[in-house]
């Protein structure tokens, strides 16, 4: 497809379960970002990849959050032992380079019960 694709679109997890969120960036996009967003707020930065290298993970809220992009294209955000406060929309965005416009996916809405 032409845009950034995220799956699943919705995920309901029981507290304590592990979840994995997938992001397929636009082909050829070097930069990939993960964000966590509460409604009506700006996305909160989680982590940033340039190709397969994770250059910044300063926004990950705890060591339960882990992201990877092993081949420099598809990325997975994993959350272990989910907590209720993890409930949010998780957005992925990609761009050609650091100062290029971000292209956002439609997000994965995670609800932890």
């Amino acid at each position: 497809g032409a845009g950034v694709s995220q799956s699943p679109r919705y995920k309901v997890a029981k507290r304590g379960q592990d979840v994995a969120l997938r992001c397929d960036p636009i082909s050829g996009h070097v930069s990939l970002f993960w964000y966590q967003q509460a409604l009506g707020q700006g996305p909160e930065f989680l982590t940033y990849f340039q190709n397969e290298a994770q250059l910044d993970k300063s926004g990950l809220p705890s060591d339960r959050f882990f992201a990877e992009r092993p081949e420099g294209s598809v990325s997975t955000l994993k959350i272990q032992r989910t907590q209720q406060e993890d409930s949010a929309v998780y957005l992925c965005a990609s761009s050609l380079g650091e100062w290029s416009p971000l292209h956002f996916g439609n997000g994965t809405r995670l609800t932890v019960t």
């Binding site: 409604l39 009506g40 996305p43 957005l91 416009p101 292209h103 956002f104 439609n106």
Partner: protein, 109 residues
Amino acid sequence: EDKVVQSPLSLVVHEGDTVTLNCSYEVTNFRSLLWYKQEKKAPTFLFMLTSSGIEKKSGRLSSILDKKELFSILNITATQTGDSAVYLCAVEGNYQLIWGAGTKLIIKP
């Protein structure tokens, strides 16, 4: 298919000029329209619009929504070089955010 279209894609003006950025949408079950300013890593939230005809204002920035014609505008008056950024429009519908491609605004001194 839901979509959000922003125009122009890019804009170059001189400091002090006034600019108007456009966002039109076709989104099922519209809930809100949001404007963001993208700098570096993360977009900064500007406005959230839910009702037609009510202008939201913050300093030199203002925005208004027309739910009948399905568009919103973002105005920036007396532009400054610090306003240079990509401005993103997003529309919430069916519990998902649909993003526009952004308008890249460059303010020349």
